[in-house]
Subunit: 470 residues, 2 copies
């Protein structure tokens, strides 16, 4: 199974390359088995694939030195945040050196008046919010994992707040990046907008370490809302829930979060997080604004939901109730795993125009009928993005193949609906095969031209996102 | 003066190239003097610089044919919207064929449930809003000119609504582009978010016709707000106005528009648009939301303004009053010109982090003291973007040189404040010299690598944005 990762092309450092790394980094050039194994693992279903060595850079100079040596010896270099990627992004499938940014984890500047914060790439999203809380500001992007800001930028991550605040695409202001020849560039100023040249910031956001190494990230932050309330609404069906969301968005209510859970997910979450949610399809809402604004939003939304067969809101007004609810939602990946102890999770990630969402989920649920494994469905429904989590037996070739077939059919379905194979998890290894269907060969070739131009020796996380050859 | 445009490098079609164009386009390959002159003119201070010929493509096939021929004969090809660019973007300084998109001006698809509209590049922004009004949706980006959507995408335009709705960067969902070898690619699906590959959409947005020809644009649209109100507030000083804006944004009020005018602008606008505004520095606000939401926003904003020395709001609640006010604001370019009949306007366009805005404007006003020409200052103050409009005598070499010096010093000042030489007007010819100071040579080289990779014969709007050689 999963042996579809090609190890054949592993590139190794020659002796003088090893000597050069050791001369520069000394003991910090780590080749111990345990550290290498750890950095050959992410949350994808792929088997362990360790790098040749691991370095924990302490500053940009360390990164520059490592990139220059890797470029000189044509050996891969792979940036590593916390290893929470789902599609094999950080697996060194062609060998090489992993840079783990755990020690570059400082908040460098808080510019509260400008709503920007500059961080090293190893800063964790929850840490960032802890460190800026006193300013009255917050950073909204919240993928399921406690991911690093560098990894989130590289993956163009999002999460439950994207419907209101956007994704890393909208919220990265500027990056510092080390290029293949070891130069340090800044992709943009801190101005809120600019028409001064090609958008290098957005070219590197979502590039998954394949064009250069991100060594500094400036993100946009927002005033903490004066009031926050959350509510749960049960629906008779998925379609009723999705139709409500479309009408809510057309009403102009700037809803902060709107998450869908199918009844299987609700059951799993109830069990794992000790909640007593009614086990039907449901929407989980959050409203941000002034006291009266939040109340007004909630009234509009409740009325639309009711018109679509939704039941009365269950409120979570106290901060601890809200935290409990959203923690349960964020843990749905782990609560899903508990549906089948010992299983591995395979998660899909398509995103479609919201007008097609109900149809896409319904057809997918039909396709999942009769599969030998349990599954759950959750969705960032305001964005048209949803995840099927399939819990497969890690030793069953048959289940793996069936889950792959489900995913392939789902991706084709989404692309035919003018959607994408990945809303937020990224391409990594697992989705490379879908990019041609999604973008067409000519657009894919434009991506490849950038890769070739920026990384002539194919050292930056090779074998990910875009293939070197057509 | 202004002879800094190099005509020396004009490339012309050989006879067989002319024959090939005529064989394909017949009478539609236009070489009449009047049409060529018109397409050698924009709103920049540069002298007329006509193309060799003009084609009005009727469909994508026409564009493909023209690009293929231009690429075959290594002759420039320049896309043209309505010619409202301010920095010389559309001037064919190396010769070549201009494609005028006036006949590709159809709204192709309105996907109201998905909040997207797909248009041909020649659609004018006001036309777009006229054609979607019945759906309850609107398109917020409003540069000063009645610009085309294709031109706005190519320039990464914005305007007065950007503080709430973003710029073309945030509001272009997807593009169709003709590449150098005549292939038609689509940069993205219509999904609201995607992590499936490099962000080709944002690479082409703001590329000013230098990487390919945009032939279709899908933009994001928004529900028309239930309630809209506008208000004017006079301030004792620029600093008091800017400080109010910082505090308003920190309050979390999602203000839709906040525009600064200095007292010279107010005087000019009063005269040109027959208004009776009090001639002090002022802020022009607009609030979008529900009835109660708009009222609540306005109360918070009035209180903050008052704490900073602002006077009582003057309201413009009736739609016709609002329209009159915003039309006057949009016409400030033209009302400025009336300050000195027969003058040419030279407009600056820096954008800085808002914490530095008051300082940047104040220093710039001091620098303008004693200049021999009148000027006005307006600002999209919520974004940190402001324009000095200098009204120079078109026959005075001295005034031109002085206005250029003002601009150069202003750009350096903005860059030192971590800002940009262009908030929304783009680079064109006029700002190419500033990009090295802003981005650094290594980042500029990354831009150049994309240009070389996508346009190996340097046919796409050459001599604009990024120089071919370092």
């Amino acid at each position: 199974m999963l042996s579809s990762i090609h190890h054949s092309a592993r590139r190794v450092l020659p002796q003088d390359g090893l000597d050069a790394f050791r001369a520069h980094f000394g003991d910090r050039f780590i080749t111990s088995e345990a550290v290498r194994q750890h950095h050959g693992t992410d949350e994808s279903p792929y088997p362990v694939c360790p790098p040749e060595a691991v370095i924990f850079p302490r500053d940009i100079d360390d990164v520059v030195a490592a990139v220059k040596l890797c470029n000189q010896y044509s050996v891969p270099i792979i940036p590593f945040g916390i290893g929470s990627s789902l599609e094999g992004h950080v697996l060194p499938i062609e060998g090489g050196i992993t840079l783990d940014f755990a020690e570059m984890n400082k908040v460098l500047a808080i510019n509260a008046e400008d709503f920007t914060v500059t961080v090293q790439p190893g800063v964790i999203r929850t840490q960032l919010n802890d460190e800026i809380r006193h300013t009255g500001l917050f950073f909204p992007i919240d993928p399921g994992a406690h991911a690093s800001i560098g990894g989130m930028a590289a993956t163009r991550a999002s999460g439950t707040n994207a419907v209101r605040y956007g994704t890393m695409r909208e919220n990265v202001v500027s990056l510092k990046v080390v290029t293949a020849n070891g130069e340090v560039i800044r992709t943009s100023s801190r101005a809120r907008k600019s028409s001064a040249g090609y958008d290098l910031t957005r070219l590197f956001v979502g590039s998954e370490g394949t064009l250069g190494i991100i060594v500094e990230v400036t993100v946009r932050v927002y005033p903490q809302p004066e009031a926050v309330t959350a509510a749960i609404c049960n629906f008779p069906s998925l379609s009723a829930a999705v139709q409500s969301v479309i009408e809510i968005m057309q009403s102009g209510v700037a809803i902060a979060r709107v998450e869908f859970m199918d009844q299987r997910t609700v059951a799993a979450v109830n069990r794992y997080s000790k909640l007593g949610l009614k086990e039907t399809p449901l929407l989980l809402f959050e409203f941000h604004g002034s006291q009266t604004g939040v109340q007004e939003q909630a009234e509009v939304v409740q009325e639309i939901a009711r018109d679509n067969g939704g039941m009365d809101f269950e409120w979570a007004e106290r901060p601890e109730d809200r935290t409990r609810l959203w923690t349960a939602r964020h843990n749905s990946h782990y609560s899903g795993l508990q549906l089948r102890p010992g299983s591995r999770s395979v998660a899909t990630d398509v995103c479609v125009p919201i007008s097609r969402l109900a149809e896409c989920v319904t057809q997918t649920a039909a396709d999942l009928e009769g599969m030998p494994f349990p599954y759950t469905i959750v969705g960032h429904v305001g964005d048209g993005n949803f995840h099927v989590q399939m819990l497969i037996d890690p030793d069953s070739e048959d289940e793996w193949e069936k889950s792959e077939q489900i995913n392939r059919r789902l991706v084709s379905r989404a692309i035919q609906m003018d959607g994408t194979c990945s809303g937020e998890h990224g391409v990594g290894i697992h989705k490379m095969a879908f990019l041609k269907e999604e973008h067409g060969e000519a657009a894919l070739q434009l991506m490849r031209l950038v890769k070739h131009a920026y990384d002539p020796n194919n050292i930056f996380n090779p074998g990910k996102l875009v293939s070197w050859q057509a």
